[in-house]
Homo-oligomer: 473 residues x 2
């Protein structure tokens, strides 16, 4: 182990990248790595390499790694398994720091050849200073350095931020990044480790512990070859940064699929859950839960919520939302306590009706009939009530457009972006999809940009809030 050494710099902030197995055919994945780096605006040197030569993205393709004139810190290899050992010799000769193997066909196939090739690779690089990511992975991701994830010619990275992740699945990593771009989760670094024969999830988790740009850690794991080391890494991580782990292969069918995906021998789900809990990590059970927790942590930090206030009926029809929102919170062991008597009196002034509106959840729709200022004041009063740790506002763009109109919906959202600062109360917004999808996305982006976590359903919000609050258990 050479923790803290420059293989991580070479992975996330390389000054130069060679794409071995490049192609002048833009449809080939070897070409897409090059196109993606250029499209994303990566500023280091990019050297496409392929025996056939040619050019891609305006760059000449070198016929071998050895013939590349400058230094190469990082190699992305998109080549057949049979060419791997020769490439390693060239990498060592050129003092490459890290090589990422997109190449599949190793131990995950269950074949003896695949397993012995992995052993041969490790023997070849031992004591060479060259480190390996993968095989069967899509490598590293760093928005700050304009390195997109995987062979995508679009080269989308989203904005740089402070959430870092490691994933044993390239597909899950890619989808997490897409969810991130759509929901303004801003990543610092990410890496897909695949079969992780050399650098593995534990290595990257330990690196994230000391990485100043990383404030929140996420991971998708299927199994581990060294449970003790993973546990120690997680405990180290959880002591200093909120860490969310999604363990794939919890069920019998899932464990069988994991075996053939990354060659992971999955331990039983209860063993994993107990390990994660003891380490102090949050356990997510789906990609949605993982993304929801990372978003919540990014926007609000490690909030400790036991009691929530729920506001619905921003346009009309808040009654059913009050009922189902209460169910969703109670399902996740979040209390929905009564409002304080001073709050109830103030609401009575504002809304002028007895009954449902004086409870929690608060259906503020009667206030809306008295004008937006009254609606805003009613929401402000509920959010300021001292009996809750966090306020959840359920909005519905479809229904707001029908009842209030587009301009008024915009006014409501401008008010909501100011509310957490005004009341000093953390807030989450539930914004379900529906028929007015374009407008909903606009509202979502506006709220997210103001630092407010937004969820598509009350059950998703309640679950994420409860999971993150476990950090204080």
């Amino acid at each position: 182990m050479r923790e803290g050494s420059s293989e991580f710099e070479a992975t996330f902030h390389p000054k130069s990248i060679a794409v071995v197995g490049a192609s002048s055919d833009e449809r080939k994945s070897g070409a897409k790595w090059v196109l993606g780096l250029k499209a994303a605006g990566y500023e280091g040197a990019v050297y496409p390499v392929s025996a056939g030569g040619g050019s891609i993205a305006g760059l000449d393709i070198f016929t071998s790694l050895s013939s590349v004139p400058g230094d190469v810190e990082c190699v992305i290899a998109s080549i057949p398994a049979r060419s791997v050992l020769q490439l390693l010799d060239e990498c060592i000769a050129k003092r490459v720091r890290v090589v990422q193997f997109f190449t599949a066909g190793f131990s995950e196939t269950g074949s003896t050849e695949g397993e012995s090739l992995e052993r041969e690779i490790l023997k070849r690089v031992s004591n060479s200073g060259l480190r390996i990511i993968g095989p069967n992975c899509i490598g590293s991701f760093c928005p700050q350095c304009h390195i997109p994830l995987g062979p995508s010619s679009l080269g989308r990275t989203g904005l740089a931020g402070h959430v870092s992740f490691v994933s044993q699945s390239g597909g899950i990593a890619a989808k997490l990044v897409e969810y991130g771009i759509a929901r303004q989760i801003r990543f610092s670094k990410g890496v897909s480790v695949g079969n992780s024969i050399d650098l593995d999830a534990s290595d990257f988790i330990r690196y994230f512990v000391h990485d100043e740009a990383t404030h929140v850690i996420g991971a998708y794991l299927e199994g581990t070859r060294d449970g003790r080391r993973l546990f120690a890494s997680l405990r180290q991580a959880c002591a200093v940064k909120p860490t969310v782990i999604w363990k794939g292969g919890r069920t019998e069918a899932g464990a069988e699929a994991a075996m053939s995906h990354t060659g992971s021998l999955a331990s039983s789900a209860p063993v994993w859950s107990a390990m994660l809990q003891q380490a102090g990590a949050i356990e997510a059970r789906s990609l949605e839960e993982l993304a929801d927790c990372l978003l919540l942590l990014q926007q609000l930090g490690p909030v400790h919520v036991r009691k929530v206030a729920i506001v619905g009926g921003l346009a009309d029809g808040g009654g059913g939302i009050s009922v189902s929102g209460s169910d969703a919170c109670n399902d996740n062991a979040l209390a929905v306590p009564p409002l304080e008597s001073t709050t109830r009196e103030r609401l009575l002034d504002l809304i002028g009706e007895v009954g449902s509106i004086l409870r929690n959840p608060v259906d503020v729709s009667p206030a809306q009939f008295r004008g937006l200022e009254t609606l805003f004041e009613a929401i402000r009063v509920v959010a300021s009530d001292a009996s809750s740790d966090l306020v959840i506002v359920q909005e519905d763009v479809d229904i707001m457009h029908s009842f209030l109109g587009i301009a008024e919906t915009r006014e409501v959202n401008e008010f909501l972006t100011r509310l957490p600062r005004e009341t000093e109360k953390p807030m989450a917004v539930v914004l379900p999809g529906g028929a007015a999808e374009l407008h909903r996305v606009e509202v979502e982006n506006q709220l997210l940009a103001a630092g407010i976590p937004v969820f598509p359903a009350m059950s998703r919000a309640a679950r994420a809030i409860a999971l993150v609050s476990q950090l204080h258990a």
Copy 2:
């Protein structure tokens, strides 16, 4: 009780509607009922009524119901509670069939006045032939008759179909309709019953049993004044049509909110669950589950699924999807059995690799590198395997755009729309949201229009399939 009589015709197919409490101010809800009916293209007579007169949507406002020249079958009343009794007398004099009270401020407020007014209303209409929907409701909905739900000037109804619902919450009903419009759930009829002092959920469920246009029944219920009658109605319904019930107020906080929402005294959740199971209904636990089950039933009918085949990796990165998809299915007691040996041999030919691709789930991404026709054949082979009752295809528009491109993504979806007919195997598609939202919506609409149920997450698909399959338990 006068079941089968014309109050239901007057609710869903009225020849004439008077909106009492109309307004010439387009921002008022009284105006929006009128605007919505005209925008939706309702072909019957619409009579706005308000003491102040004026005009709305090009129609003169009558100063009283009595002064309306023609017959009025249905009255939508958006008036203060204090004016309700006088209106009832006018309705009876004019031989109105049904009146829908948008008006709130009755028993749901918990006040003695509210409760006694409800009793007075019932006394006033007894033996008059006039029936009441509500109060505290947003009334009826019928796309075929171009009647939108509630006071929305947009008047959106979506296409007419065969799913009918009753809801104790107007807000939940409105959102169900919006989900329906977005996801191509085509409704026959819907009704929000609010406090349901006269016509209640049981009445509408019994009506739906005999209504030929209704093939699938859904309901959001919070409580009932007559549990035996509800149970009998549900048993009747479930014997002939798939019926999905979402019971709001399952938890302590939810039950308290339900009490002040529709004045429903909620029984305990286990009692409800047992009742629904005994009646043969599907129990949904959220709006998303209710909508998912209705969509699945509309698209595939009451499928009986115990074993699923899962296909992922249409572009790349299907491995993690295989693992998490298996977990989601097993979590919902759906088996993911191995493929038959003939299928495995055929896949080996097509994909040329051993390992993960010969199991179920099938990561077809290696086939994609051999061209779309090979990809299609691999999917066809898996879908045709006799060991599964249904195939779930996980697509991801973000990742497909990155790896395949837009034109190829379109080709893949054209193939998928033909697949269920070709293989005679029911199919569901999982299509998560992400960065390419507009393209995702286009793909979703294309698949939905071809009769394929589409879900935003594997867990949502698995849950809906498992719930609907309970009908065969």
